[in-house]
Each structure stands twice: as C-alpha cells, then as structure tokens.
Amino acid sequence: MDCGTCESASPIVVQTPEVVNVELTITENAQSMLEQAFGDDRSMALLVGVLSGGCSGYMYDLQIVEQTDIDCQELAISGFRILVPNSSSHLLNGIEIDYEDRLMGGGFKINNPNAKSSCGCGESFA
C-alpha cells in the first residue's frame, strides 16, 4: 500500500467554519450551581465545547479548567469566566445554559437555537 508519506498526498484541508462572536446566557439555576462548583475561586473557567458524536452528531462538552490550549474566546458573565472554542462558535452562539434539578436526567442543560434536533438525553444535537 502506498500511504502517501511522500509529497504526493497531503491531508485533506479541514474546513474551518467562520468564527462568530458568541453571546450566551446562564439561567439563575445554572448560576447557583456554578457558584457551588467554583466557590470563591474565580480564576477557573467554564469551557463550553462541542465534540463529534452522540446520538445526533455533536455532543456538548462542559469542563471546568484553569486554562486551555484550545483557541477560545473568553466571556465574562455574572462574574464567571466562560471559554468557547472558536472552532465551535458557530454552533454555540445564542445558547442558554440551564440547570435542571431532577433525580434522573438532571444536570446542566443547553438550549441551543442552532440545533435542528437533539437526542432524548439532551447531551447531543445536530
């Protein structure tokens, strides 16, 4: 097999979506949960990302980080640092981060106006 390690084959050019200046909101429920998670340490940030996969093609990925190597835009909302990767910004503009307090299926939820559909558990969207 010719694997193209010579100059004759180059990786397919990855389509880079246009970077959008993200605006997002955090509900009061979500804010109080973030208060508990962060405590007084506001040097940490909430990274709101998107990965491939899930039932619908894209999955939300929430992480608490101090910093990241990912190229991100940083937002300050209600005293919280929010990081959004530029490569996912077109998928996350306009989202609302909510928190549902339920024994089953509860947790952070993202309401996304860009999603054409979402899976039952709410973790993935298309």
Partner: protein
C-alpha cells in the same frame, strides 16, 4: 481465488491523538483494536441511514479505512465538519492505490498482512481487500461479475448498491453484526435502539430460489437463487 477491481472504495488514513474517539463517536461499532485487528463499522445519519461502511485496521501506527460510500465527497465533508477542536486529520490516498476484492478463498480469521507494499485485509473470514500501489501493474482481474454475485448469494453477504444503500439502516440490510448494542451514544443510535427494543422495522436478509417471489422484492439476482429482505 477470483479478483475484482473495487474502485468504488476509497482509502482514508486517520491521524491524530483523538482519531479513535472521533470514529467511535460517529460510527455504530465499538472501535477497540485491543480485541480485534479489523473493525467493520458504519457511519450513519441521525435517522440511522447508512452513509458509509468503514473497514478499519492499523498498519504501522496508521489507522486506515477502506471506505465505501455512495458519495465520498459528501462523506469527507461530513467527517470534516465534526472534527472541531479534536486532534484528527484525514488523508485520502485512494488515488495512489489499487483496491482489489478477492473472494472464494479459505480464510482462517480476519487479519491484516503487509509484505513488500502489498496489503491484504481479510473481512469476516469471507473475502479480502488487496491494496497495492499504482506504481505497480494491476494484477489480472476477473471479468465474471455474475460469479461473484452467485458466490455472495450463497454466502448471504449484503453488498453496496444492492442491499446496502443510503435508504436503509443496518438492521434492514443484514449488517446487524456491525452495530454494537452497548457501546453508548453514536450518531443514529437512538433510532436503532428504539427499533430493537420495540422489535419494529427489523428485517433480515435471506436466500430464495428464483421464481419464488416477485422480482421487485429481490435485491440481488443470482443465477439460480437470489437475495431478498423480509420483515422478521
């Protein structure tokens, strides 16, 4: 062992530290090379229709996919749009290689062999894909496609453009073995899980003698027997 040109397949190389997780999240089978050398998996739409079949194997640290899709450009565009922040890159080396389909041979087990640039990938103990550089002359090919069809009917093997199309899901064309039932979320999984739990819409591939059913119900017409799909 007859040899057919299989030029409709493309050869993709996945690189990057996130490549396994990337493919696992987008396809129906579990991508775990600790238990098997070759993994056949399906890229599905959100409605669980088949977009592509990938035969994945590792070769010298490269993750290679023999990829069969009705529209390769569309597939690459779809995969590309899912990379986002993940460390994944895709190279298409189809133009550098011949892909031949070799069938009707006794194989012991699924395996990958690579000798002097000639790579052979055995699928399901039934047939193999031979991959070699276009710098070499193409090996002599059989032109008897009907023999391949008759062999496929006898072995109950669904095929692209016949049973496997973008209009069906894996359970409707005999590819149940390429759907992992417990791996967790992947695109199209909810639809398949619902079908399985409600036992609705499930079909199976079967062999019939020619003349037993109307021609329009036949998906592959063999010389004496044919393949068709029926509801379970």
């Amino acid at each position: 062992m007859p040899r057919l040109a299989f030029d409709k397949a493309s050869l993709l190389i996945f690189a990057g530290s996130d490549r396994i997780r990337f493919l696992d999240g987008l396809s129906s089978n579990k991508i775990d090379f600790s238990t098997q050398d070759i993994i056949c998996t399906l890229v599905l739409s959100t409605k669980a229709k088949i977009m592509a079949q990938l035969h994945l194997f590792m070769l010298n640290d490269m993750l290679i996919s023999i990829t069969i899709s009705e529209n390769n450009d569309e597939l690459l565009s779809y995969l590309n749009s899912k990379i986002l922040t993940q460390n994944v890159s895709i190279s298409d080396v189809s133009n550098l290689n011949y892909i031949d389909l070799v069938y009707d041979e006794d194989y012991n087990s699924p395996s990958v062999s690579n000798e002097e640039g000639f790579t052979s990938v055995t699928i399901d103990n039934l047939y193999s894909f031979d991959i070699y550089s276009k710098k070499h002359n193409r090996l002599p090919l059989s032109l008897d496609y009907q023999s391949f069809i008759d062999w496929r009917v006898a072995k109950l093997i669904p095929w692209h453009g016949y049973e496997i199309t973008s209009k069906v899901n894996p359970y409707q064309c005999g590819l149940n073995s390429q759907v992992h039932e417990n791996k967790g979320c992947y695109t199209g999984q909810e639809v398949l899980t619902r079908m399985r739990s409600r036992n609705k819409g499930m079909r199976e591939l079967f062999v019939i003698n020619n003349g037993e059913v109307e021609d329009e119900k036949i998906t592959t017409k063999g010389t004496k027997q044919s393949l068709a799909i029926r509801r379970i």
